[in-house]
């Protein structure tokens, strides 16, 4: 096999149902180079990479390796050519160990005793690129970052010279992102080439040599990262100037909406995930919970919305005790929820858009009479969400699985906001969205709060928290390290709080001054 020195994709076109996903795309990447593919949701980045990996066939255009045209009919051929892909959603078997998963994806796995031979090979790669991974652990025990490393090892073992990473950082914590970047740098130094798909400007700027910007299936710009800046890239991406900050009007503190007192919640693995958390949330307020992923945010959100039982403590909304009520009862008290894993929890993929638009509201009077659903009203409601939240779809009787992740997120958000909830619990609402959609959704959250709702916002994105929130709590290992006003000057130490090494408070409840 010849090493990939230079890979070119020329005049690639691909359309689905008459809509161009890719139109006249030209990209090239040389060995020892990292190419960033930047673009909004649905810009055609993943389609392009799926063509390169042999999952799709282009309608026209060609792929050249070292100047010679190749045809890639399926992923196996692509692997044989030295291309490896790490998907956004990992393709690992949860109940198998790391080495078993690697053996499964390895093309020369011997029939008998595969582990023995593989162990040796993996060791050499691990030391070369400084992967730290226990080969005998089961995959479900690994963090997202470790799972990603397993995926990368899989591609390297198969001799990949060119590595495609599809939104690799969307599931990683800040520290894991740093480790990934280190690994990629070492691979680059070793002569590998990398195509890095992302819509996060920071990462692209930090790691890529070149960047190609896609919008609506076409290339709208490209640059050497050293010759450009974030603002320039953002401008290319959305096609107009965007302000990267948003002005927020200061609203007077309203009545108390939510009160959480000393709650304890158990996580999936049977250990305490939320420990003795207390806070209060008022009308017209957005309250942020910051922290590195996996420190109890998900469990806290699920406990408040009734999906996960609360071991002890009390949750009250407008003075009413809602501790451990069913999700539907809690919804009826006015708590909406945008879940963290939207595809997993937020939708029924095979049902139509309009079925999904009422997932939590189908029992409400306005959508049903007796036991019958009022589909006329449901469809009207769906249409209004689609227009208001700019969900891109050609019909409302379209299975929601056909929509892109960003559009699904917009529909879920529209669904949860449209009923004017007392409290919106939003977990990473702009996760995976492009700049335009993010701005749009943030404005909606501010508007919701101006109209008298309270918002509990879980986010890892500190910019988002500072942009939207009046107060922020920092969660670490299931505990609140403190609650601060976002204009508190001590906020600069928030990093210390996120790392669990400092406690600070400006909130009387958390400090135990009121009861």
């Amino acid at each position: 096999m010849i090493k990939i020195q230079r890979l070119e994709m020329k005049d690639i076109c691909k359309s689905f149902q008459g809509i161009h996903a890719n139109k006249d795309i030209n990209v090239e990447v040389n060995s020892g180079e990292i190419l960033g593919l930047l673009g909004e949701n649905g810009a055609g980045k993943t389609t392009l990479m799926n063509i390169l990996y042999g999952i799709y066939q282009p309608d026209s255009g060609s792929i050249l390796i070292n100047g010679k045209p190749v045809r890639i009919a399926n992923p196996l051929e692509s692997i044989n050519l030295g291309i490896g892909m790490v998907h956004q959603h990992f393709m690992l078997i949860q109940n198998h160990s790391v080495i078993e998963n690697i053996a499964l994806g390895y093309k020369d796995t011997p029939f008998l005793f595969p582990r023995k031979i593989l162990r040796q090979k993996i060791k050499s790669f691990s030391s070369q690129f400084d992967f730290q991974i226990d080969l005998d652990q089961k995959v479900w025990q690994l963090s997202a970052g470790e799972q990603q490393r397993v995926e990368i090892i899989k591609t390297l073992l198969n001799g990949a010279d060119l590595l495609i990473l599809d939104e690799p950082t969307s599931v990683l914590t800040a520290r894991e992102i740093k480790e990934l970047i280190d690994i990629l740098r070492r691979m680059k130094a070793d002569g590998h080439s990398v195509i890095f798909i992302s819509h996060k400007l920071n990462e692209i700027m930090e790691i890529c040599d070149h960047v190609t910007v896609l919008r609506k299936g076409r290339i709208v710009g490209g640059a050497q990262t050293k010759d450009t800046d974030k603002l320039g890239l953002a401008r290319m991406m959305v096609g107009k100037d965007v302000a990267l900050t948003m002005d927020r009007e200061k609203l007077p503190k309203g009545d108390r909406v939510l009160s959480v007192r000393n709650i304890h919640v158990t996580g999936d693995k049977g250990v305490a995930a939320v420990k003795n958390v207390s806070f209060e949330l008022y009308k017209n307020e957005i309250f942020g919970v910051a922290g590195v992923a996996g420190n109890g945010q998900r469990e806290l959100a699920e406990a408040i919305t009734g999906i996960r039982p609360i071991d002890s403590g009390k949750v009250r909304i407008n003075g009413r005790d809602i501790t451990n009520l069913s999700p539907r009862q809690i919804y009826d008290y006015g708590i909406s929820h945008v879940p963290e894993e939207r595809i997993r929890f937020g939708i029924a993929p095979g049902l139509f858009l309009y079925d999904n638009a009422i997932l939590k509201q189908h029992h409400l009077k306005k959508f049903s009479k007796w036991y019958f659903l009022n589909y006329e009203r449901i469809k009207l409601h769906t249409k209004s969400i689609i227009t208001e939240f700019r969900v891109a779809t050609h019909a409302i009787n379209n299975q929601i699985r056909n929509l892109s992740g960003g559009n699904i997120q917009k529909l879920i958000l529209g669904r949860e906001i449209s009923e004017q909830p007392q409290l919106l619990v939003a977990s990473h609402p702009t996760y995976g969205l492009d700049v335009g959609a993010t701005r749009f959704l943030r404005r909606h959250l501010l508007e919701l709060c101006r109209q008298g709702s309270a918002v509990l916002l879980f986010s890892e994105d500190l910019d988002e928290i500072f942009e939207l929130c009046d107060r922020v709590a920092v969660i670490f290992a299931g505990e609140f390290m403190g609650i601060l006003d976002t204009d508190d000057e001590r906020i600069n130490d928030i990093g210390m709080m996120m790392a669990g090494s400092k406690r600070m408070n400006s909130d009387p409840v958390e400090a135990g001054l009121t009861t």
Binding site: F16, Q17, I55, Y56, Q57, R71, A73, N74, G306, I307, S326, P327, R328, Q329, I330, Y331, H337, P339, R344, F345, G346, I347, A348, P349, G350, L351, D355, L359, K360, H362, H363, S368, Y371, F372, L373, Y375, N402
Partner: protein, 359 residues
């Protein structure tokens, strides 16, 4: 070199879905022809004969409708369960339990009551019997996470043995001269038939009403919506606040209950006494799984697919005798058709392209 490329298909129209089914049935019949050929029978003749025997004569049509009654009832009920991805393989047992409850009711209350009262009563009893047998796996699944395929399947055998125990033991009839089986049901509990046929029309009407009703239930009601959501994505169901226990109990009560109604029809409309399990139902609970599948899990279509499979039973039985084929012929035909229907789904949800490559 020829290559085969598969990709997801996005626009699945009802017409395409229907045509895929027809093509799958056609391919299935082709495969069955090979088996006929191997058995030394002219396949064209045999396949034609199946449909001539079942749909080609007044007698055949009457018999086909008779056999379609239980298939429609059970098949329609299964569409509901399968929509919620509750794999109810236990319709056979639910049918038998319906028959047991109906027999008890008829024997104890029948002599004293006029038909206008006892007929609704035995159907109610049959529904309850089937529903009770159906909700056991629902409780086991939701409360204890026990796989419903295993429980529903095993409950079939338990019910069959229970029924056998009744007819060789406490329920053995005085008029049976020592053979297993109950005494005949009282006349008031015997269902009327269309003249010159075995079509117990009350059950037939009930079957059609149930199919239409289930269609409304699945597509128009809150409960149907919840069942579909649970089937599509249980996690979303949990997030949406759907009560799994309640949903599963209702859908298995309905699914089992309809099988129970079919059991009532068999006992009170056809046999008029309770005999061995294999004589009460000739595997309708299993054939109905294919009926539901061919109907694309739409209860209304279960009427057509029920008639189709009833035709295969009738025609298959006939050619078994006339062509001297083994008794398993019908089951082989049904099994092959199910496999091809499921394979058809693969072609429905995936686009297969064959192209010639340059390399």
């Amino acid at each position: 070199m020829i290559r085969i490329i598969t990709s997801d298909r996005y626009n699945i129209t009802p017409l395409r879905s229907f045509m895929t089914n027809i093509a799958a049935l056609g391919a299935g019949i082709l495969a069955i022809s090979l088996i006929f050929l191997a058995a030394g029978v002219n396949p064209l003749y045999a396949v034609c004969q199946i449909f001539i025997e079942s749909f080609g004569s007044i007698y055949g049509i009457k018999e086909t409708i008779t056999k379609a009654i239980p298939l429609i009832l059970i098949g329609a009920g299964l569409t509901l369960a399968f929509r919620a991805k509750f794999w109810n393989i236990g319709a056979e047992g639910q049918l038998l339990m319906g028959a047991v409850f109906a027999t008890w009711t008829a024997q104890h209350l029948g002599p004293a009551l006029p038909p206008a009262l006892i007929v609704p009563l035995i159907f109610t009893a049959g529904f309850i019997g089937g529903a009770l047998w159906g909700i056991i796996p629902a409780i086991l699944k939701i409360k204890y996470a026990i796989n419903e395929v295993i429980t529903t399947l095993m409950l079939n055998y338990i019910c069959a043995e229970f029924l056998t125990m009744l007819i060789v033991g406490p329920w053995k009839g005085k008029t049976r001269f020592g053979f297993p089986g109950t005494d005949p049901l009282p006349d008031s509990a015997i269902l009327g038939v269309l003249p010159g046929s075995r079509i117990h029309y009350v059950t037939l009407i009930l079957a059609i009403i149930c199919s239409v009703g289930l269609c409304v239930l699945i597509y128009k009601t809150r409960f149907g919506y919840e069942a579909r959501v649970v089937g599509e994505n249980p996690d979303a169901g949990k997030y949406a606040g759907i009560d799994f226990l309640k949903t599963s109990l209702i859908l298995m009560a309905v699914s089992g209950g309809l099988a129970g109604l079919a059991g009532v029809g068999e006992v009170a409309g056809i046999h008029h006494y309770l005999g061995y399990p294999a004589s009460v139902s000739s595997g309708y609970g299993f054939t109905a799984i294919i009926v539901a599948w061919l109907a694309k899990l739409n209860p209304l279509f279960a009427i057509a697919s029920g008639l189709f499979f009833a035709g295969i039973i009738v025609g298959g039985d006939a050619i078994q005798i006339s062509l001297g084929l083994p008794a398993a012929t019908v089951e082989i035909v049904n099994g092959i058709l199910l496999i091809f229907l499921i394979m058809g789904d693969y072609f429905l949800y995936n686009k297969i392209q064959i192209c010639r490559s340059r390399a």
